[in-house]
Structures are given as C-alpha cells and as structure tokens.
C-alpha cells in the first residue's frame, strides 16, 4: 500500500475515535446542564406524578449510560431522535424528528458558508501572495492594516455597517436574508450577499496573513536563493518555488476558518435573521431541547474533525517526501 494511503487511513481512524470521545463529552456536558425540560414545560405547579410520567415518556428516567448508548446507537443509523419541543403538558404531541428540524437549517448554513468560502479563500490567497511578493511596500501595509482592522471589529458591528451602507443608504442588497427551501439559487445568492460579505471580512485576515507569513518564511531557504540566482522573476520564485512548499500551514488555517463559518456564525445569523443552524441551537438550548442540542453539537464537532482531517490530507499530499517515497 502506498504510504500516503496508510497515513490517510490512520488519520481517518483517529478522526472517528476523536468523534466518539467528543460524543461522550457532549453527552456528559448536557447531563450537567442545570434545569430540566419537563419542569420547564410543565411549570412550577406540576405535581410530582405528572413530572415523573412525562420523564418516563421521554425516557429521562433511564440511567445516563443507557440513554447515551441509545442516542449513539440511533445516530449511527442516522436517527438523531425526536425533538422535545412540540410536546406539551396537555398530551398533544406535535414533536418533529430532529433530522427534519436540522436538515433545512444545516443546508442554509452550508450554503452561506460555501458562498463565503468561494469568495474569501481565493481572495485571501491572492492578497497573501501579492503581499508576500511586494512585502514592505505600501500595498503590503495597506492590505495588512485593512484586514487587521476588519478582524478587530466585532462581527455584528461589521454587519450593521454593511447594512447601513449597502442596505440602507445605498440599498444595493437586502438587509434581511430571509430564505426558504424554495428560494431560487440566484435569489438566494442575492439575499445572502451581506452576510457573506460580513463573514468574508471577518475571516480573510487570518488566512491572508498566514499565506503571507508561510511564503515569507520560506524566502530565506537556500532553494529560494538558488531560484533567484537562476535569474527567475520574483513572481515565478513565489508561485513556483515558495508556494508549493507553503501549503501545509495555509490549508490548516483555511480549514480552521471554514469550520468557523459553520459553527461560529450565530451572531451574523441573528443580525440578518438568517435561518441557519446556529440560531436553531441557541433556541434549543433555551428550551432545553436536549436531542436538538446534542445533534447540533455533534454536527459541529464532526465539521471541525472533518475539515482538519482534510487539511491534514492536503498537507500530506503536498509533501513530496510522503507522496514520492524513496
């Protein structure tokens, strides 16, 4: 077997193991949350019998480890359980499957994240490479200063500024990003313009600075000096000689930021009233809807693990020592 394949399999196994441990941590953390769904729904006045009966119905009377294995067993079959919300003390059960609840929200989040990534990643690489090429120049300083200031401002502030200028004073884009399942693609892109821009401004700095630093870090290498002494142009030196060796740190930062686009955008969702998964999770926490909270947490964890795994694999594949063993 090619060593790269075996390394990848190893990483994959490691990722799955991490996910398993994370699931235990998520479950235990939620166990430790104060408050109880039954009491939240039934109110202070409920008798002990009604509470106990309701708990039994939800399976909350079982010991924790049994509930854990039930949950994990279900997840492995694609069943994240049934949401607690929609149940009321009256006995009317309008509860929905967690999958049905999360599905469309996750799709929305992935759409916004994807749209942002398509803009932000190439932009960050371009800015990073050009800044490295003209390091120390006015351009370099301007790019650094701008990206640093956008990352230093809180997201909601960036969002409101954009709304003020592009939604209100010069109404180019809608201020609210209300989309539904049947919104056509380009309409969706149009409505997501402002949130995508906000997120781009937030994540570009990190990726751009890492690209610049990773390239500049290599410029002192003997092989870069050799390339210069072969009379190659500065562009050629950077693109052909430095960049191919700089991918590993760059993709790691890209993966980190892409994960952030999926798990960390609740503030932006709130500002633009965007129906993403972040809002869903926050709502679920306030109503103590445990199955939804657990499912969201697990999805977030899986996102981090998957993207980091991907970054690892790209670092390995761009390393000629591993790709072409002796």
């Amino acid at each position: 077997m090619h060593p790269v394949v075996s390394i990848m399999l190893q990483r994959l196994a490691l990722g799955l193991m991490t996910l398993f441990f994370v699931s235990i941590i998520i479950f235990m953390a939620i166990e430790m949350l104060p408050g109880d769904f039954t009491q939240a729904v039934l109110g202070q006045a409920a008798t002990e019998e009604t509470v106990a009966a309701f708990r039994r119905e939800l399976g909350l009377d079982q010991p924790a480890y049994i509930r854990y294995f039930d949950w994990v067993g279900g997840v492995l079959q694609g069943d994240f359980g049934t949401s607690f919300s929609g149940r009321a003390s009256s006995g009317v059960d309008r509860s929905r499957e967690v999958v049905d609840l999360i599905g469309p929200r996750l799709a929305n989040t992935l759409f916004l994240a994807g749209m942002t990534a398509v803009i932000a990643v190439p932009l960050a690489l371009l800015l990073g490479i050009t800044a490295a090429l003209w390091r120390g120049s006015l351009y370099d300083r301007a790019v650094n200063a701008t990206t640093l200031s956008t990352i230093s401002m809180p997201e909601f502030f960036v969002a409101y500024i954009l709304i003020l200028f592009l939604g209100s004073l010069y109404p180019v884009f809608p201020s609210l990003a209300n989309v539904s399942a049947d919104t056509p693609f380009w309409e969706r892109v149009y409505r997501c313009a402002l949130p995508a821009m906000t997120l781009t401004l937030v994540i570009v700095a990190h990726m751009m600075r890492m690209t610049r630093a990773a390239i500049i870090n290599l410029l002192a290498s003997p092989y870069i000096e050799m390339a210069r002494l072969k009379g190659l142009s500065a562009t050629r030196v950077i693109l052909f000689h430095a960049l191919p060796n700089a991918w590993a740190p760059i993709v790691n930062v890209i993966a980190f930021n892409l994960a952030y686009l999926i798990v960390g955008v609740v503030v932006v969702e709130v500002v633009f009233v965007y129906p993403g998964i972040g809002q869903l999770m926050v709502d679920a926490v306030t109503t103590r809807d445990i199955p939804v909270v657990q499912a969201c947490a697990l999805i977030f964890a899986a996102t981090y693990i998957l993207l980091n795994l991907l970054a690892d694999i790209i670092s390995i594949v761009t390393n000629p020592r591993l790709l072409h063993p002796r």
Binding site: Y223, M226, L229, G231, P244, N245, P320, H324
Partner: protein
C-alpha cells in the same frame, strides 16, 4: 588547460573584473563592512580558488560576481564588470537575464538548494526555458546528456526523481549539471563538496572539473579546504576578514605561501602525535548488534578502548559510528552483545544505569550550538552536572565552574554569558567543560571539530589532548576527517556499513597494506599537491568496494 600544470595557464580575454569592491552587512542596528575593497580579475576559462575561514567573506564575494547581495547585505562601493556589463549599476532585470544564463551558481548544500517540491529535471531545465534559450524537448535532452557527463547513474531517468530520492553526492552533481544547462561563461562554486563524505567528494570533484574543462567555463571555486582548491584552481586568492591576504598561481601558492596567515592555514595539518596503546581496556564494546526499528545498523561490532588513550572511529556517514556511540551511552540498547566498563557489563538501557555509571561516560556533540540551552548562562550549563553528579551547591559550584573555565582556557567573565554570545570554538569549549564537570573517565567526542574552522579545530584538539594528559581521560573520537585522526588518535577503528573493517594502532592502520576499504578511504583524502585528483581517480578504477560505493549500486534504490 592541462590538468598537470595548472601554473600560469594561457587564458583568453578578461571575463570579470572587480575593483575595490565593498559590501556591507546589516547587524546590531548598523552597517558593517564584510568585504573591504577587494580586487579580482578572472579570464575566460580560468578557475580562481577563493579560500579563507568562515566569515572571511568568500561567499559574499562570490555572489557579488553575480551582482547579487544576500538580504541584509548591500554592495556599497567599487565596480564589478562582467563582460563589459557594469553589475553594480545594471538594473535588476538586466542582472536577472545574466543569472542562470551566463553566470550560474552551485550551492554548498545541494540537498537544501534543490526545491523539494519539483523533480531534478524540472529544476535543471528551468533557467534555460525561462531565459528562452531552448525549447523544452531540447532542454530536457540536453539535461540528460549533462547527467551522463556528470557520471550520474541512469541519466535517462534520474531527472524524474525528487531531490530527497537521490543521495547527496548525486544531488551535488545534478546541481553542477543544472548550472551547466545554459552553458554559462562563469560558474560560482560555493563550497560544493563540503557537505560530502571524502569518498564521494573525489568523484564529484572529478566530474566537476571535467565539466568545466569540457565547456571551457570560467569558475570561482570557494572553499576552506586547501587540498580541494589545489585540485580545482589555476590561481588561488586567500581572504581574511573581507580583505585579500595574497593571490598567486596555485603551484606557487602551495610551494611558497608568502603571508604568515596563509602559512598558518597550511600548518594545521602538521599537528600529529604518535599512537600508543595499552592492554588495560577501560571500555569494551563486545559483539554488539543494534537496530533502528527492524533494520540492523550495527553488525557484531567489537571495539576496545585502552585506558587514557584515544580511539578514533572513522568511516563515512551511515557507517554506524554515531550508532556505536549511542549504544555505549545507553541511548540505544543493543539487540545482542554488551558494553563493559572496567570489566563489568553496563546495563544496556540508560534507564537501568546508576548515576555513577552515567557520570563516568560523558559526551560532546558536533553542533555545540544545538547541544546547549540558548537561555542558560555558561554558569548554569556547566553548573548543572556539578550539582547533579557531585551534589555540590552555592559557592562550591561557583568555584568549580571557575576552575573548569580555567581548564578550557576561558576567563571567569564567560560564566555570565549566554551561548549566543560565544564564537563557535568557545561554544565547543563550554561543551567540553560541561562534559568535564562530571569528572568522567570516558568522553565520546562525536565529530566535535567538524563544524569548526581549521585554526579553531587545532585549538580544540590541543585542548582535548592536554585534558587527556592531565586527567587520564579516554576518548572515543568519531570523525570522518583523516587529518583529525592523525592529530589525536592512538588507535583507529575503520567502519563500513555497520561493520568494523579493522582496528589497530594508528601507524599500523595508516601504513600499507590496507584492506580495500581503508585504502579507498585514505586515498580519498585530498592532498595538497597538483595532480592528486587524477591519481586518486586512477587508483580507484576497478576496486570492488569502490565499485560498490560508486553510487550506482548504493545510492540509487530501484524504483518502486
């Protein structure tokens, strides 16, 4: 150019002139002069050797011949004219057009100077393609022909390999081929064989010289090794502190160096002591077989160290010298065999050894730089083993540190310095003091002088010899440098591929007849006389070990 008579060769017109070149380097917040007004003239097809210690400005001057100054350096004065083009005044574009096409560069470490991300062929043809000198197909065919001319194995396909897939010697040849690709008028060789084993160096030198003769290329050959430059250059220029010491045709320079500094460079090689032996062994390595992972790297190695004497382990990189040292120190427990100290077997693993057993064997490393904690003062570095092994503290430690500094010929003020504030030689002295602090009986010296300049080397070797006299120390001295062995060893152990080829008194090992590998090793050490290279190459033809080491078999693994 006749290789046997390098004196006053008749060369054509002037190719490169430097007049009063001054180059500044930026350090400690200000500009310092690195090169202080050097003149240099090079004719077409001529080879000029530039020699000097590290820091003399050889590389800086060599790069200036390409109109290039490293980051943090600047050419601040004088004129550099290459074939009528003023390189000081020329635009960056103009200089870019010259570099890689008419002036090429061969770097010291080919392993670092080849880009790990691209194949050899891609990098070899890059300059020719980018300068628009040839089409791709033609350039690639030419590169293969050059690989063949440089004696690389499988020249048709070696270009498809990545730098990490070929050996150091092969890379260095591929780099010469890369420099030759555009048929430049001038090549700057910057210490091109310093990182190679002696046995590899001979072949690389021969291939390089053949190439520059064949294409009638002028060259500036930078090195600190006099014997090497004697084989390569028509003329030799000696540099020191950025100034020219003297310049003369090679033969004249070798026969009668004028300047005392040049003569002192020659003198180092005369350090020699007669070998003595004794049957009282302080340390015995007995039938040791050791492995990294599942691969055996030592095979049934037995070495004896006589008390108060020095045993030199010689052999090229990969021969198992350092592995043997790791077995002795307990860092690598052997698979079979044992290490005896004063006749008692030592626990194989370091963890099983008592503090007393550890104290008696100390180690000094090649890279003094990385062997010391950069954040600790000399006092802390030397004080640690004093406190650890002898349980002393406070004033007692202070006094010991002072005495140790005295023994290594540094004054007490050094105690408060950090490693970064020391020169290379001083750092190595501190490492010696640290080993000495434990009051050991055996010190393992792993290539301790390899990273140092000749004159500094001499100082360190003399110090080690004096300490041996004073304290009755026994040394295991690992080196690949035969001159160092001549200087310090009593006994010599020749190693090859994890096996001991022979062990004996230095004089006996160095006197013929030799086993074939010892012969090859000894004959590979460059000597300071013209024509040595041809004789060495001629001697090598046909030897079985030489064939095996001639890279085809050893260095190039079959694809797959």
């Amino acid at each position: 150019m006749s290789s046997d008579t390098p004196e006053h060769p008749q060369h054509g017109e002037v190719l490169l002139t430097m007049r009063g070149v001054v180059i500044d380097g930026f350090a400690d917040e200000r500009w310092h002069e690195i090169i202080r007004g050097v003149d240099l003239t090079l004719h077409k097809g001529e080879v000029l050797g530039l020699i000097g210690e590290s820091g003399a400005g050889k590389s800086t001057l060599g790069l200036a011949a390409m109109g290039f100054a490293r980051p943090g350096c600047r050419i601040s004065g004088g004129e550099i004219v290459f074939d009528g083009i003023d390189l000081v005044a020329a635009s960056e574009r103009r200089k870019q057009r010259l570099r890689g096409s008419r002036i090429a560069y061969v770097a010291q470490s080919a392993a670092a100077a080849f880009n790990p991300a691209h194949t050899l062929l891609e990098q070899t043809v890059e300059a020719t393609l980018r300068h628009g000198l040839r089409g791709r197909a033609e350039a690639e065919a030419d590169a293969r022909a050059l690989y063949a001319a440089m004696d690389l194995p499988d020249p048709e396909h070696i270009g498809d390999r990545f730098p990490h897939q070929v050996s150091g010697g092969q890379l260095q040849r591929a780099m010469t081929a890369m420099a030759m690709a555009a048929r430049p008028d001038l090549i700057i060789f910057d210490e091109p064989t310093t990182a190679l084993d002696v046995t590899t160096q001979v072949n690389v030198l021969a291939a390089m010289r053949r190439a520059i003769e064949q294409f009638d290329t002028a060259a500036i050959y930078i090195t600190h090794d006099l014997a090497v430059v004697a084989q390569m250059a028509d003329r030799i220029k000696v540099l020191r502190y950025g100034e020219e010491v003297e310049e003369a045709p090679t033969e004249e320079m070798l026969r009668a160096p004028k300047h005392p500094y040049t003569r002192s460079l020659w003198a180092v090689r005369s350090l020699q002591k007669p070998g003595q032996t004794s049957s009282d062994l302080v340390l015995e390595i007995d039938g040791v077989t050791a492995a990294y992972g599942t691969v055996d790297v030592l095979h049934d190695v037995s070495i004896g160290l006589p008390r108060g004497k020095t045993v030199a382990l010689v052999g090229e990189s990969g021969s198992g010298k350092s592995t043997a040292a790791r077995v002795v120190t307990g860092l690598l427990p052997p698979r079979r065999g044992e290490v005896r100290f004063d006749g008692t077997a030592l626990p194989a693993d370091l963890k099983g050894r008592t503090k007393e057993q550890k104290r008696r064997i100390q180690m000094i490393y090649q890279m003094a730089d990385t062997a010391m904690n950069p954040r600790q003062t000399v006092r802390e570095i030397i004080g640690r083993p004093i406190a650890f092994y002898h349980g002393l503290r406070g004033r007692e430690v202070e006094r010991r540190v002072e005495r140790l500094l005295e023994q290594i010929e540094l004054d007490g003020s050094f105690a408060d310095r950090l490693p970064g504030e020391l020169s290379g030689g001083q750092k190595q002295r501190i490492c010696i003091a640290r080993a000495l602090a434990a009051e050991p009986e055996v010190i393992i010296c792993d290539e301790v002088t390899s990273a140092l300049d000749q004159i500094v080397q001499e100082g360190i070797l003399k110090l080690l010899m004096r300490l041996q006299e004073d304290h009755g120390l026994s040394y295991i001295f690992i080196t690949h440098d035969i001159a160092t062995v001549e200087a310090i060893a009593d006994e010599v152990v020749v190693m090859l591929e994890g096996r001991v080829v022979e062990q004996g008194l230095k004089e006996e090992i160095f006197a013929p007849p030799h086993p074939e590998y010892t012969e090859l090793l000894l004959s590979s050490v460059p000597e300071m006389e013209a024509g040595w290279l041809e004789r060495a190459i001629a001697r090598r033809q046909g030897g079985a070990v030489a064939d095996r080491l001639a890279e085809g078999g050893r260095d190039l693994p079959s694809p797959g």
